[in-house]
Amino acid sequence: MRRSRIVAAALSALALLAVAASPSSAETPKSGGHLNLMQREDLSQGFAVHETSTIATSFPSLPCFNNLIVFDQTKRAETVENLVGELAEKWSWQDNYRNLVFFLRKNVKWHDGQPFTSKDVKFTFDMLREAPDAPAKLRINPRKDWYTNVEAIEAADPYTVVFRLKRPQPGLLVMLASGYTPIYAAHVNPAAYRTGCIGTGPFKMKEWRKGEFVDYVKNPDYFMKGRPYLDSLRYVVIKERGTRTAALQAGQLDVSFPGETTKTAAEQLKKAVPGLVITPVAQAVSDNIIMNTKKPPFDNLKVRLAVSYAIDRKALISAVHQGGAVPGASQQPKPYGVWGLLDKDLIALPGYGKVEDMKAQARKLLAEAGITPQHPLKVEMSTRAIAMYVDLASFVINELKQVGIEASLKQVETAQWHPMATRGEYQIGANLTGLGVDEPDANYYENYACGSPRNYSQYCSEEVMKLIEQQSQELNPQKRLALVSTLQKKVEADAARPLLDWRLDYFTVWPHVKGMVPHDNIYNFGRMADVWRDK
């Protein structure tokens, strides 16, 4: 009796040992090699991530920088559980989510040899929150609102940083994991990031040939031993869409640009090169309609709701994206985002039911507002003069036509779009919004809060503001989820910015590219330290 038990224990111990010893993935990473990545346009402001809000800057800058924390680059889901430390070894919330303490990694060097300390963290975030005694100022600061709740940042010793908040805010943690929150060097003028890059990241910026490419070489002093695997990277700038796809197909590019591969393009690529690895992921980019709530006719809730009812979400996904998108409310839907509404709540929203019923409801609402086929509503729909936007707008115009709203399309050049939208010089617009991180605080303060410059609809609801503040301070996750669900439903019911769908990206890599795991958010993956070449 005792012998068999010993044998059994020994066998199970052996089995455990075998499991522990074998690598979790099927292959072992190889060192060395070069990869060509796609860059859809030349970098907007070089590597000055804190001065831009575009993936055209953030994606090619990721290899150069490190954050305090990031979402695990080898896992797809962006959740609190998947946070890993980069420049921070350990972190913890204290005093009931009022203070956030980071214990920083030691022996980390900037690319120019200088040591990394808490000074750099304090420098970066004081600059971002525009602290009165901040040593530097950003020329353009799009994410200042992310840090309004930060009272002070303390760097008591070189390897400890404390974020003191005015009130509890559990959501702040994930906002620091975004690709939009790298750490700048305190000894470098922030303006210098527009032309070059001094970071602590796995790759050093070797050359940026304007309009052509960005070259990176391996950082031999990277704090993670054995990383990065690759020797060099090149981000090739190709503006012409057809040429871009052809280059990927012909193998001159190894990796596609996040958010740039539609379902149809992916099918075409797969047909031409069956070996390509295509992973459909969500982008955290939504299609939505903005309406000027301060001027007629869209100051009338009924008219706005009618617009939301008139647009058949399923048809839109089919027509504009050929199925490469998913329906959702103002937070990215499950399973791509953690805050998404339950299915039963989603289909109760305008635009999700039976087509005829929805259109009839829209016409009824319009009639109540005095708009009938005899007195149709004529409006001007503005959109950016880019194919993505124009396709969306064309479809929406067609939908609106069926309920009695005649919209003419006005294309606005890039330089004009934000000033026009911010100043309210439009009636209705077809818009795309990217969320830097799947966190309601980042979303609602930016896009729905009273007076926020990116609240293009100029929507202001006291009730909603209360809800936003409430969920921001709610420490119980279930309670917070409930609050955010209420918030999503309320915002769709006010129809100031009806959400149409969330885009999918069919991220494509050649089979020899290993370890490149796309996330359900185009802004937060691409550090490239864990990527290797099998050939």
């Binding site: 402001q45 809000s53 020329r139 032309t195 052509e212 052809a246 001159q252 004009q416 100043r423």
Partner: protein, 317 residues
């Protein structure tokens, strides 16, 4: 002769001055400026920060002050700083010049190599089916949008043989053959288009000259047909052709914009479009002036060449 050159240069300078005012004015007319674009990459607008950046870039000064400042900079050889890249404009423009220049020259060579022989054949076989075929072929090149031709070529290549010319610019020093391949297709595409006009002019001027009395005299004297053509006729027909080559060079720049975009070549033309979209005033202004200077100088050279080739024409009287 000298006074003629001096006169032409003087007029050229005046023209350049006028052009500078036109391009300066039109750019300022375009709605939106670099500050708007910077904010749009940030995704928001803030009036206070706007003013600060305007001041930093000198855009808050009165328009005429900015113009005078620009002129002053040019005279001191300073081409200003790019608003977008925060670097000296010359540093950014310099690597682009050889690309566009090479593409333009190669295209010109293709157009002459294609246009002149076709024009001669067409003229000699006037009104025969061969003439018609050649004229249709040539005109087809002129009628196709250059970007369409380029797009069809690239898409066709990747669909049929799974290969396209390199999308990153390969310098001749890095890999000569790859570089040659990279430039072959776009030069052919652009050259084919330009060849149409050259072919037409070659044909018509040759036809005109062939009717001349002295040709008929030479023929009557018994000189063989082809000698007559190649020696007398072509010699005199060259003059208008040379003029047209000069004109075509200027037209090429426009055609290069789309070609450089489709074939992803980092040249001046493509960069100019980018700079216009970014309202990068220093770059656009200086690049356009550069192109204008090239055009004026090439016109002058062509006219001088004309005078050199045709002893009947004399200048300066």
């Amino acid at each position: 002769m000298k006074t003629y050159i001096a006169q032409r240069l003087g007029i050229g300078l005046l023209t350049l001055l006028g052009m500078s005012i036109v391009i300066f004015g039109m750019l300022r007319l375009a709605p939106g400026d670099i500050v708007d674009i910077l904010f749009s990459t940030g995704g928001y607008v803030n009036p206070v920060e706007r003013l600060a950046i305007e001041k930093e870039l000198g855009l808050d000064r009165p328009v005429w002050v900015q113009y005078v400042e620009w002129m002053r900079q040019i005279l001191t050889g300073d081409l200003g700083k790019s608003y977008r890249y925060d670097l000296p404009a010359w540093e950014i423009i310099r690597p682009l010049i050889p690309v566009t220049l090479e593409l333009a020259i190669l295209s010109l060579i293709v157009s002459v190599a294609l246009g002149v022989p076709l024009g001669v054949i067409s003229a000699v076989r006037q009104d025969t089916p061969l003439d018609y075929v050649l004229r249709v072929f040539s005109l087809a090149g002129l009628s196709m949008p250059s970007f369409w031709l380029g797009m069809v070529i690239i898409l066709g290549l990747v669909a049929w043989i799974g290969w396209i010319p390199p999308v990153t610019y390969v310098r001749p020093s890095e890999n000569f053959w790859l570089h040659a391949v990279q430039f072959a297709l776009p030069s052919l595409a652009v050259g084919y288009r330009s060849s149409a006009l050259i072919m037409r002019i070659t044909r018509s001027s040759l036809l005109e000259v062939m009717r001349e009395d002295y040709i008929r005299t030479a023929r009557a004297k018994g000189q063989s047909g082809s000698v007559v053509i190649w020696r007398h006729a072509l010699q005199n027909a060259i003059l208008p052709v040379v003029t047209v080559i000069g004109i075509e060079f200027a037209f090429l720049i426009g055609g290069l914009v789309v070609t450089e975009t489709v074939f992803n070549l980092p040249g001046l033309a493509r960069f100019l479009v980018e700079a216009i979209l970014w309202r990068d005033y220093p770059i656009v202004q200086n690049l356009v002036m550069f192109i204008a200077i090239v055009v004026i100088v090439s016109n002058l050279v062509v006219d001088m060449l004309y005078g050199f080739l045709d002893p009947r024409v004399r200048y300066g009287h």
